[in-house]
Symmetry: C2
Subunit: 507 residues, 2 copies
């Protein structure tokens, strides 16, 4: 065996994927665990990614006619009790507010006091509290469609948490809409799933599979749930966004009624849809490598870091003059539809230390400017999607063109790489033994590495789904849209099936 | 008496200011009370104002070197107990989370279950939880200054609430910074107060008085609190933003220590500063009139509404062709440093109904386009800062120039009007009887209307402050920066005083 090359992140993906993930986050300074159980602190570089996600998605929501609003964080217990499936789904893990003050406990400490007549739940999702407002806002078909989005924090108490992927508090957006007919509500549900898929592909550079969730995996209270599913580098699936057709379920429980075109009162048809800070987890796990974070340029907080190199004041003066020119060159510049931001790192550290700092943070381009470069009228530019030591000389006059062209290349490369990985690890399996073998880890010591997505037939029976889950920890990720009907036999029971579904292990 | 002119808002400001305020909010569709005690629902037009406030302030924070991050919503009780004054200030009205799930209560309902070993408080402000992170992030003077901002929701349970002005949950930003020296921390405290004052004047068109809070009015745990105070149209003061110099108080309780340039460990110096959705209340009460909301163009969600007028399909075709031209004309246009947005209202309502709809919403400009206008190559434009029936004909070729010029005029007019009102209602009072008369309502039936700001001498004794508060419900709003020292006598006790302070009733 050849001597292992040292990487910035240890362990590597091969060695221990779960730990690699934590170390990438740490090295890029994205987030950390807090002492509040299950809650994370999102640090500036991580939060800036979230702000970019918000900015782009918010524009897409506006273009499709949605408006932002804000509803209370607390949900009265009685609202929660109205929809049976919904409460079943969320009551087991929630934060319950029962008291309204703290008072002296007589031992130098404080105790909860002022018990509330009705406890509140900190919102795990807002269908019921928003429904209470919608019931007041909707009177006639003229008030429809009602297209609202909320950016907010939500709380679902989780036992085993992982930064970004599963935390007790997380940030998200939740769209809530009301429609006159089931067709319109379904059209909205599909439109927003499509918005999510387009955002994932075009900005996060993550190819996703769109499809419907099975009965067992759908949102509590929904008629149908649809999701986008992405493949991480350990070949597991990550559900990255969901869009729900709620039928008249929540309209009934919240009493959202409207006078239709015939003058009669009827319950309205509603939808909800959301993505969360989990997308940052997807971004990390889809693209990063053993040297740290890799950011698609269209979602990166900054695109180019300038690293000046000098040994004395005279060199510094010459170098910093060029640095200033480059900074000026990019002021007010756009990379496609996003602002192009530069960073300057002139800390008193070695060139190598600063270089590796930014490699680990995933910035798309690094530019070194030293005395020799100044003399030759050039700068050295390195790309995050190439080796850490690869760099090319670019003439001053060419810098802007080179940067814009290269950012577009990086964005395309990252997407192409993720797509190839997904395709290489997605196979049709029709044989039960082959299916079981595919999902059984080859190496006991590295149970994380296993098969990817299996496109296999499923009869639709929950018992078959459950058996596979128990045997292999593999679930039906979705019933994909882009797979044609065909005759086949259920991978578990062998009964006739009309369609292949996506099986995978998942987060 | 002349016959009273009918206004869009009833009652008028004169008749009942508090109720007028509620009605302006309702007529403009900004927000409403929810069934969750003290919590409001911010509706799209109100939320869009908040988004504009966020956008502008966020840019100002970035320019001054701050970065956004996000910290947990829950504060462990033990964190809260660390700073004595702080807990004293917030423990009496807070939301306490004590349980982690709901379970069947045996009577068809649900009850709180899964009691937590340590209760959490839903953040009323985040000094203690952010301090816990800062203690980990700060090790050396090289890590300083640390300049962080958070956009978040906070909860302070309030008994008597009023939309935007005082709600149990509200949205805000809270800046938290750490410094090497008290001088630097104080400089930061002052810089951010100045940012708030500039934002209030230049965007909200509200002139404010900057000054220091008295000992009794400062933030629990702060060494000094500074605020900007604005005058509302009922002549009451509204504290619109605060900036706190926290000394080493929170550094001590959170253990934020750093190695200084001499190699010794010392507690750092911290600041915090915030503004909230209360600013929307300030905006409403400072500028609106008896016909509804008046929005300064630089913070309005939209600047120009187009109101097409036609009676048949033929007229519609001609009119809508011009509407489209006008819409195109403004695509991608900026009004100074904000995007210029147009709205189109072609609902099936009368011209008058649509006109009044937008007057009440406070949009700066309304443009009518009818068949006669099309024929003459002109449109009719009305301004929100003039009478509801005043309008001028503007030629097509002049529209863009006229709109941009007029928006700037409106912005300046609104500010000038508010400044004149503040100046007209601020007087120096040196006589105790005159002071008491100034603050005693002239009309028993309209206790809201009273004197404005009194610049009077105060000896600095809390007892004098307390007496005036008890007698008149008047408090020292601030010890203003822009008032020179001069010899005088305390308005209450008559003892020697070096300085005038601002006395007023307040929200």
């Amino acid at each position: 065996m050849s001597k292992k090359e040292r990487t910035a992140i240890e362990p590597t993906r091969e060695e221990n994927y779960a730990e690699w993930y934590q170390q990438v986050i740490k090295a890029a300074d994205l987030a950390e665990n807090s002492e509040v159980r299950g809650c994370m602190v999102i640090k500036p570089w991580g939060y800036a990614i979230w702000e970019n996600i918000q900015h782009v998605l918010d524009g897409m929501f506006r273009e499709t006619g949605h408006r932002n609003a804000y509803f209370p964080i607390f949900i009265p217990k009685s609202y929660f009790e109205k929809e049976a499936e919904h409460v079943e789904g969320f009551a087991k893990e929630c934060a319950v507010v029962t008291h309204s003050r703290l008072e002296d406990d007589g031992h130098g400490g404080l105790k909860a006091a002022g018990e509330l007549t009705e406890p509140y739940i900190v919102r795990p999702t807002s269908e019921t509290i928003i429904g209470a407002s919608f019931a007041k806002w909707v009177n006639s078909y003229r008030d429809l469609p009602l297209l609202i989005n909320q950016w907010a924090n939500v709380v679902r108490r989780e036992m085993r948490t992982r930064l970004f992927l599963r935390t007790s508090e997380f940030l998200w957006q939740e769209g809530h809409t009301v429609h006159e007919t089931p067709e319109e509500a379904m059209e909205e549900t599909m439109q927003m799933l499509e918005v999510y898929a387009r955002f994932a592909a075009d900005y996060l550079a993550i190819p996703v599979i769109k499809g419907e969730k099975t009965e067992g995996e759908k949102f509590p209270g929904a008629v149908n749930t649809y999701s986008i599913e992405a493949m991480m580098q350990d070949k597991k699936a990550l559900q990255s966004g969901t869009s729900h057709f709620l039928g008249q379920n929540f309209a009934r429980s919240s009493n959202i009624r409207y006078q239709n075109r015939e003058g009669e009162f009827d319950y309205a048809w509603t939808t909800s849809w959301g993505v969360s800070t989990r997308l940052i987890g997807a971004l990390i796990m889809a693209h990063s490598d053993d040297n740290g974070l890799v950011l698609p340029p269209k979602i990166a907080p900054a695109h180019l870091v300038i690293l000046p190199i000098y040994r004395d004041e005279k060199e510094k003066e010459a170098v910093m003059a060029v640095v200033k020119q480059v900074q000026e060159m990019f002021k007010g510049t756009w990379f496609e539809d996003v602002h192009l931001y530069t960073e300057l790192d002139d800390r008193e550290l070695t060139g190598s230390e600063r270089n590796w700092h930014w490699i680990k943070k995933g910035i798309p381009l690094r530019m070194e400017i030293g005395p020799r470069d100044v003399a030759s009228g050039k700068v050295m530019i390195a790309r995050r999607d190439q080796g850490p030591r690869d760099k090319v000389a670019v003439e001053m006059a060419q810098i802007k063109d080179y940067v814009l062209k290269t950012l577009a290349e990086i964005q395309a490369n990252i997407y192409a790489k993720a797509l190839k990985f997904q395709q290489d690890n997605t196979i049709k399996i029709d044989d039960n033994k082959a299916f079981y073998k595919y999902f059984t880890p080859k190496n006991e010591e590295q149970p994380e590495i296993h098969g990817g997505f299996a496109l296999s037939h499923w009869c639709g029976d929950a018992a078959c789904e459950e058996k596979i889950k128990e045997d292999l920890k593999v679930t039906v990720r979705c019933i994909p849209f882009d797979v044609a009907e065909e005759d086949g036999n259920c991978i578990s029971c062998g009964k006739a099936s009309k369609r292949r579904v996506v099986f995978a292990k998942s987060y």
